[in-house]
């Protein structure tokens, strides 16, 4: 085999290997757990005509059925799970110590099925205490009935604080 062919193959292989690495890093870049959805929501508010932004790599954004300004994610802002985010996709989110909860709270002050957060038919997010021992607090008040969540209000369960954010 000629020297030239081997040199070309050698450099070609390195190029292909690095191309793979770069493509993999690109995948990570566009894989940031739904933040892209948030950006679309905010950019759409400025634009007119409701023309969706291009970039079809992601699934259809949930803008069709979401109210404007509705929160798109749930963020744990205090406690052991700080930094955890869960995308709000129109489904009930359960919180508690039970292993099958959406967010498993490892907290002595949490009950096994402590609270749930769900959207009502208008898309407004509601928090409901499920008969917990130590209670669920919205701002400073202990919940007794299912209550709509104002944007940015902290929900406290034991040592954990969660918020809904856009």
């Amino acid at each position: 085999m000629s020297e030239l062919t081997l040199t070309v193959m050698r450099l070609g292989f390195l190029a292909v290997l690095w191309l793979f690495v770069i493509v993999a890093v690109q995948v990570i870049r566009s894989d940031l757990f739904g933040t892209r959805v948030t950006q679309r929501g905010s950019s759409r508010r400025g634009g007119a005509g409701g023309a969706p932004q291009q970039g079809g790599r992601q699934a259809a954004p949930p803008q069709q059925r979401q109210r404007r300004g509705a929160p798109t994610k749930l963020v744990v802002s205090e406690g052991i799970l700080t930094g955890t985010t869960v995308a709000l996709a129109g489904q009930t989110i359960t919180l508690g110590r039970a292993h099958d909860s959406t967010i498993v709270l490892d907290d002595d002050y949490a009950s096994s099925r402590h609270a749930r957060i769900y959207p009502d038919r208008d898309g407004q997010w509601i928090v409901e205490d499920l008969g917990s021992t130590n209670g669920t607090y919205l701002d400073r008040t202990r919940l007794t009935t299912p209550t709509p969540i104002p944007p940015g209000a902290p929900i406290r369960i034991g040592k954990t604080v969660i918020e809904l954010r856009k």
Partner: protein, 474 residues
Amino acid sequence: MSVVTNTTTIGAIELPSRRNTELLLLAFAVVIPIFAYANVGLAIHNELPPGMFAYGAGFAVLAGIAHFVVRRYAKYADPLLLPLATLLNGLGVVLIWRLDQSERLQNLAKRSFGAFSPSAPNQMLYTALAIALFAAVLLILKDHRVLQRFTYISMAGALVLLILPVVPGLGADVFGAKIWISVGGFSIQPGEFAKIVIAIFFAGYLMVKRDALALASRRFMGLYLPRGRDLGPILMIWAMSLLVLVFENDLGTSLLFFGMFVIMLYVATERTSWIVIGLLMSVGGAVVVASFASHVQARVNAWLDPFGCYTTSGACEQVGQSIMSFGSGGVLGAGWGQGNSDLIGFAANSDFIFSTVGEELGLSGVMAFLLIYGLIIERGVRTALAARDPFGKLFAIGLSGAFALQIFVVAGGVMGLIPLTGMTMPFLASGGSSVLANWILIAVLIRISDTARRPAPAPAPSPDSEMTQVVRPS
């Protein structure tokens, strides 16, 4: 703005599952090793290697099966883990096949053992087995939280796996390190599997004891010092890893377990003091053991003066040879099949396989490999961050931490950064246990990331809405 008012479509909005991205990368990851295989054949034999398309097709089928299982049973899993592992495994087989072609190694094997048997077919076989095991783990393990129930059983299991190699009659002493057991003609390295089992124990245990370890402490010189009785578990793991070191002569396994425990302890408690304590303990232990275990001493000497070994007859030239092969690779490498890393001779295709990468692909190839490993670790840590349950978080961080430590220890060892420890480069090195265990590890990470990224389960039908539906006239 008219689209916003459409409220009738009620259906789960799915997060992108990214399976197609995975498939694309996987196709890429299958083509690269085939390219490498062709390249080795052309460089060594001046012709395309035999059965290139058959092997390539076989490899593609294996990758396809793995992808199908992930698509079917772990739909929301991370899209990168599977392609990265596939690429490394494929390139590993090519590296082993390339070393099988070396006449030097063939002659060496004939002189030492009387016959030469190629390792690449075995590695292919184990890869196929490993993919089957990967699929089985994803099929059986529907939810990683089930493993939490086996916290203490897995501790016992891990201890048994670690002790097995020293059991007389079962353990096999291979070149000084007792890390093998031979069962019915197969030799198995139980330490590779113990790595995963013990991560279950650490995660389950630390989840429960975290508060005691994190909160009950005194502040001293800017460090939170734990209470004496809370030091118990770390002392026990430390003693155990030292026992492994002394009785099995296995620096790598011992370092891996202790390091993994310290990493998980730090993540669970957020206390820097544990890292300081852990480092002090491992340095202290290593110094004490090195002062009387000759096996460890020889490794340290070879590390301090790799080229001095050529003048003494310590049979420790490997590190020097390895460093030279990295050096002669330069930036762009000698090219597949054109290096002389087979001069390392013994263990060229297992412990020292990374030297072949260094010589034939050069610095740029080594960097690409390390980045690929780094990406696997990054995806593991990302999975841990995204997991919504503390057990899953700790488990994922433990597995990726162990993986990272292993890479560091092996790559550092062959490059002369730290003393050589005799562990295997995950996915690259020849050896069935390593391939099987690492594919299980990837399967578990994929399962945890699937749970972490899966959108919240469908809402339970609430009584209010049902009542509304009954009342509404149709």
